[in-house]
Symmetry: C3
Subunit: 313 residues, 3 copies
Amino acid sequence: MQRFVLSHPYLLSSEDLSVEDVSLIFERTRFFENNSSKKDVYDDLKGYTVALAFFEPSTRTKFSFELATKRLGGECISFSTTSSSMTKGESLIDTLHTLEAMDVQIFIVRHSASGVPLLLQRNTSKIIVNAGDGRHEHPTQALLDSYTIFKHFGYLENLKVAIVGDLLHSRVARSNYLLLKKLGALVGLCGPGTLLPKFHNSWNVTVFSDIDKVIEWADAIILLRLQNERMASGLVPSVSEFAKFFGLTYERISRKPELVVLHPGPVNYGIELEYEVANLPNVLIQTQVTHGVYVRMALLSLLAKTYEFRRLR
Amino acid sequence: MQRFVLSHPYLLSSEDLSVEDVSLIFERTRFFENNSSKKDVYDDLKGYTVALAFFEPSTRTKFSFELATKRLGGECISFSTTSSSMTKGESLIDTLHTLEAMDVQIFIVRHSASGVPLLLQRNTSKIIVNAGDGRHEHPTQALLDSYTIFKHFGYLENLKVAIVGDLLHSRVARSNYLLLKKLGALVGLCGPGTLLPKFHNSWNVTVFSDIDKVIEWADAIILLRLQNERMASGLVPSVSEFAKFFGLTYERISRKPELVVLHPGPVNYGIELEYEVANLPNVLIQTQVTHGVYVRMALLSLLAKTYEFRRLR
Amino acid sequence: MQRFVLSHPYLLSSEDLSVEDVSLIFERTRFFENNSSKKDVYDDLKGYTVALAFFEPSTRTKFSFELATKRLGGECISFSTTSSSMTKGESLIDTLHTLEAMDVQIFIVRHSASGVPLLLQRNTSKIIVNAGDGRHEHPTQALLDSYTIFKHFGYLENLKVAIVGDLLHSRVARSNYLLLKKLGALVGLCGPGTLLPKFHNSWNVTVFSDIDKVIEWADAIILLRLQNERMASGLVPSVSEFAKFFGLTYERISRKPELVVLHPGPVNYGIELEYEVANLPNVLIQTQVTHGVYVRMALLSLLAKTYEFRRLR
């Protein structure tokens, strides 16, 4: 019998996903993508209420989950620290239990502190999805990145994918690294020595010291956003210095136009990427955003199925 | 002929409700509760637009009304002072009339000033629901508390219910006192002398000076939240002093495990209630939250019926 | 064959509208108005997602568009600069492209800078609606004002309509002037010399130096809101001075009770308008609000049709 549920009724880390889970998610993503022009409203989340708990500002991830929920027939409730009574000092776990008691079944959580989604998952039987926690993980970004690369090439096995930029502080880098390795890709890392994770030696990766070597090696590269905070912190000598060694210029990409380029957005133009590069055919930043909605529809749909399946057992 | 509408097409105070009104509301609440697993979307509010006008931060009450509205098929619009043009100095009554002109029929109002819901009701023929006004009233909290106690015991007549804590400043206390008396319960009050309402002598209540005596007397107790402001105001000598005489400890509840405990939330653990107490079977804080949605569905459904009935007469 | 689409799949300025466009919009507005009691939900925007991008605080315009969208079966997403990652320095155009990639098809934009809607329209093939940009234009306000006057009189041709107040800074004045001229009305202007647009000599208008002369001349007057900023800027000697020469008092309107009065709201009572005037039968401020929702439903419905029609060609 074919599996139709995921290993877990939550997603905190790329490590929660088996290869079979990813296959299921990609298959369902493809279905939603293929039927997108029909403007259908699905009923996968009919009767479900999804809490969008974004404790950090967000445009694309929050709207992506919101649209995914609504297109599956679910209801959203949104809250921010400023408008909710979290200002009264109400704890996160109390708020979780309160919403649970109101029959909210899915919690999409973004928080500046690593581990908040795990803390919540330990305290509930409901569905928790990590939408980015501190420097830890952002697994739905990794899913949509892998889906985008997979769809472009038709495979991931032994494909050379490099992650470029501030690897040390990036939750996108960590989730992508874990997922790409699991799916059989060869992973390369490239960034300033001050921004390499300390433990990268134990990771089975190739490390590159400048972007030209990475471009030569890679089939696809994922550029990371350089956070403003980092620029001010002394870890990067100067922004122009960073751009010189690690920025993707028009001149650089011209040498290998077949190279596939991803970026989680929002882009700092002139730093990670020259403005002229953004509209080249193999620069898939807009495609990533489009896939993001379908991947999250697929994920939420399968998590709800997994949750129901376990409840009935 | 059986009544099927309420006495008034609004709810500003527990005093607006007759005993028959409460029966109607509880009956409909029970219906929604019994059918909750079906994930039905009802159409009691189809074509209705509900304005959530929360001028104080709130998590549970706001979401409770929002979910109640959506599960009845109604539309919500939310506004806060910061994002609306109330910052332009637009008056509350002007905003009321503006939304009325847009065919908004139900206004759920929370405000730090006592009397704001009454002010609005005097200026409209639409439905106004008080979701907490200053130190005045919070009648839907009283409805859900009474429903929770009623459901547990099967009756309210002559049941001994105590309200414990900062009685002076609490809109929850006032609304509960009024509703419980109306429904035939015997009401006890317990709190520091500085936090007793001045006029409690004229209320037909028993007053207790410490929580041990209340526990002995009561069948159910409603703990009130000690507001942070109060702690700083000099009305309470110290938080630990308050907790010593009025906090529900594990040791205290162990002497009478059948005692039913309610709290409107969010709880200040270690002050009104020890953390260990929260998960005991007769501590119904989560149940109150769950009932809150059903009670508000019932209320909104009946208010809409009452409004239509009066309009057609 | 009768036309059933608009000249453009966007609305940035009253100048984008032909006389035939306005006829189409008014006809559809009338349809929605006539069927308003039925509480129907239409499907004109089924499958459409509308972004409400209000970068200035707003109550009436934002809710008007939100309700119009929902009553047409569309989904809304709202964002403000504070909660979105615009705080990360993400540019407006990037945000536009991100939402476009998520299949958002309609953007309702309010911004303090003139020209922002035009900038966005130049960068997208999706539908942009100007909901007020700086001192430039507010074309849907003009549509609802013209509809309100047209409905009252049954015609606009040669009708005398005066715009009174701070003409210099008003986007409402500009959009109304352009639309009223196009529809054949005779336009009068009245305001302090310091608040007259410099180029009014080239406009084909009659200028009046005080409100008494305007009242005598006009069939209908549109009062403008005096912005608080203006009062502080020295352009108006004093608020009471302004009210004395340009405020509509009860005494003044009593001399011509058949005069039709409009105001975009929120009103500064005692400045543009005495409180007692607001409830007179020919003061149509609440009617404007009601018409606002129907006009915006008509506009969004026709823009969506126009967009589809062009896409299929």
